[in-house]
């Protein structure tokens, strides 16, 4: 009873809420026009992404969203789908125009909910860029009791940042 009372008194913001892509994009880029794109990475680009990110790239098909105002591109967002333990998770990883992480939203999580990474944990990635320090037991602290989720999320963020960088260098960025 005490535990339930304490839980009820806590902030209504609940760890681990799922959003749709549209809700997440609207929250991250309010007022911007969102263009959905499907990008196919070439074999050369796949190699570069794998080398930069340090992890396998499961698919050449990349879902990308470009957010624009009348003046400029205000950000890009990518969907990364991967396996956590044996079931899938999809993250919408939204970036700033210069390729830093702005926000991470969970749009699908098919494992038991206790393994879902909380919003405060995902917030560690805010303003991070792709470098060697972007990893667990480095700039990113682990999650007690959800090690596989932490590793899967970190690999996804590194992959998205690498894809964004490779596409920008290839002149395929907006």
């Amino acid at each position: 009873m005490v535990l339930l009372t304490v839980a009820a008194l806590c902030s209504p913001v609940v760890a681990g809420d799922l959003l749709t892509r549209e809700e997440a994009l609207a929250a991250c880029y309010p007022g911007a026009a969102i263009e959905a794109q499907r990008v196919f990475l070439t074999a050369d680009q796949l190699e570069k992404v794998a080398a930069l990110s340090g992890s396998e790239v499961p698919s050449a098909l990349v879902a990308r969203y470009v957010a624009r105002t009348t003046d400029a591109v205000v950000g890009r967002a990518y969907v990364d789908t991967h396996v956590v333990r044996t079931k899938r998770e999809s993250l919408l990883i939204s970036l700033t125009p210069d390729g830093r992480v702005r926000r991470i939203d969970v749009t699908a999580f098919l494992e038991p909910r206790e393994y879902l990474a909380s919003e405060p944990w995902r917030a560690q990635y805010r303003d991070r860029e792709l470098n060697d320090d972007l990893g667990l037991q480095r700039a990113i602290r682990p999650i007690a009791g959800a090690t596989l989720t932490a590793h899967a999320t970190n690999a996804a963020v590194r992959r998205v940042l690498a894809i964004d960088r490779v596409l920008a260098r290839a002149g395929e960025g907006p």
């Binding site: 304490v6 806590c10 038991p112």
Partner: protein, 471 residues
């Protein structure tokens, strides 16, 4: 669908498309299969759409060459748009975000399906499998701390092999279980429960439940806890692994995580001078005259750091402990406080636990225990451990090399009932120093040396080597 698209764009018949598919789209049999409408999985669909895109480019080039002769511009815009639509649908399908509608009862009847069969048409579901295990080699010192020869040797034990099996019925209900084989030949259910996700912050759980206590009882994969052997406090005071049958709630709110259950109590008839570990009923035909409440909360003020507390309290007499015609409840209460911080390569953990056993004197009479063999009124233990992954300072590696040290003190006879005295060996101190290597996060090799002393000077040091895995 692709056949129709291609036929429509090029103004030819489906028969012509089918007949010419292989030569028409080139030598790629997979693309031909798509043109003929052959079934395939999501990954294969992605590959085929990519191939189609390339074929469209070739088609455009070919048409441009032909148009060059006639002066007409080729137009495959519509085909490209439709391929993009297909790619969007495939990507959504892959993401796990799309949910197919379940089959209604009427639809199931119309399809001639029994209820179980009908569920196969429902929302995303399926079996989830994971597991962990470890092999432990222990080599004991040939003499104890007093110098007396012990004659003991070594032991190699496949300590545990665990299989997690879970099944997601739908968005609200799931089943989770852990089947354990200990010492290579003892099979048991470690937990098995149904979860109902009532809201985002509240779940209801029932079945065989891991008691939500300590740092190891719920999270005991070998790549998660430091040390080849679990802390003594979390074996003798919090008798890991504790699981009983029960029902309760769990959830999270902001930075707070909580679990609270009502379970069948321990069986006090199996308590001893060494602690309450023998009183675990493990959910197997458990005596349930006495129930117990157990719960915990943890607060995460910043990622990587949490602190919390847990409580267990309930009768352990189970209607069996009677002395001179009077029945005793043997209420058993365990409290622990704990904290853990993992910041960059540093890993620091600490825990203190204390237990109280009411009616301990009556229990000892019932069990016919005397002197220092008696069960205590109070037990206590605690440890502090620190480790550092030295390779976290090396930017380019994912390998972890973590030297660690643990100091621990356990007393299973901290306070004895009147008429009973403490035994010397029940207050022990353990100093553990070791190193663990994780070539990948899922595999760990731990090597440590434990210096074990007790008030009776019968402590034996030991060398431990543990190989563990989790997936």
């Amino acid at each position: 669908m692709v056949r129709y698209i291609i036929a429509l764009v090029l103004g030819t018949s489906l028969v012509a498309v089918d007949a010419r598919a292989e030569s028409w789209v080139g030598a790629d049999p997979a693309v031909a299969a798509v043109a003929q409408g052959a079934p395939t999985d999501v990954t294969e669909l992605e590959r085929q759409i990519q191939s189609l895109t390339k074929e469209v480019e070739k088609l455009k080039d070919e048409m441009s060459r032909q148009a060059g002769a006639t002066g007409a511009e080729p137009d495959v815009t519509e085909l490209e748009r439709q391929i993009q639509v297909l790619a969007a649908e495939v990507e959504r399908l892959r993401s796990g975000e799309t949910q197919t509608e379940g089959v209604t009862e009427d639809q199931a009847r119309a399809l001639g399906l029994a209820p179980s069969a009908a569920t196969l048409y429902g929302r995303d579901r399926g079996v989830s499998i994971a597991g962990y295990g470890e092999m432990l080699y222990e080599r004991y010192s040939s003499e104890d701390e007093s110098g007396a020869l012990t004659g003991s040797g070594a032991q190699a034990d496949f300590l545990r092999a665990i299989l997690y099996v879970g099944y997601r019925f739908n968005d609200k209900f799931l089943f989770n279980s852990e089947i354990e084989i200990e010492h290579a030949d003892e099979v048991s259910v470690e937990f098995a429960y149904i979860d109902y996700l009532a809201t985002e912050s509240l779940g209801i759980r029932g079945g065989m439940l891991l008691l939500p206590m300590g740092l190891v009882n719920e999270f005991h994969e070998p790549n998660v806890f430091i040390g080849a052997r679990r802390p003594e406090t979390e074996q003798a005071i919090i008798p890991t692994t504790s699981r009983e049958n029960g029902l309760g709630v769990h959830g999270s709110a902001s930075r707070l995580v909580y679990r609270a259950y009502v379970v069948n109590g321990l069986n006090g008839s199996a308590f001893s001078a060494g602690g309450i570990r023998g009183g675990r009923q493990k959910g197997s035909r458990a005596l349930a005259d006495n129930l117990a409440f157990t719960g915990r909360f943890d607060v995460t003020p910043t990622p990587g750091v949490f602190l919390g507390a847990s409580l267990y309290s309930g009768g352990s007499g189970q209607g069996q402990v009677t002395v001179d015609g009077q029945s005793y409840d043997v209420r058993t209460t365990i409290v622990d406080v704990h904290a853990q911080a993992q910041i960059r390569g540093l890993d620091v953990r600490g825990l203190y636990a204390r237990s109280w056993i009411d009616d301990a004197a009556a229990l000892n009479q019932y069990l016919d225990l005397e002197g220092s063999d008696g069960v205590a009124e109070e037990m206590a233990g605690g440890y502090v451990q620190v480790g550092y992954n030295v390779l976290s300072l090396v930017a380019s590696t994912r390998v972890s090399l973590l030297p660690y040290y643990r100091w621990e003190r356990v007393d299973t006879q901290a306070k004895m009932p009147a008429g009973y005295e403490r035994g010397g060996a029940t207050l022990r101190t353990l100093n553990t120093i070791g190193v663990e290597l994780k070539p990948i996060p899922n595999v760990v090799l731990k090597l440590d040396y434990q210096i074990i002393t007790n008030d009776g000077e019968t402590g034996r040091n030991q060398l431990n080597l543990d190989l563990g895995y989790a997936f």
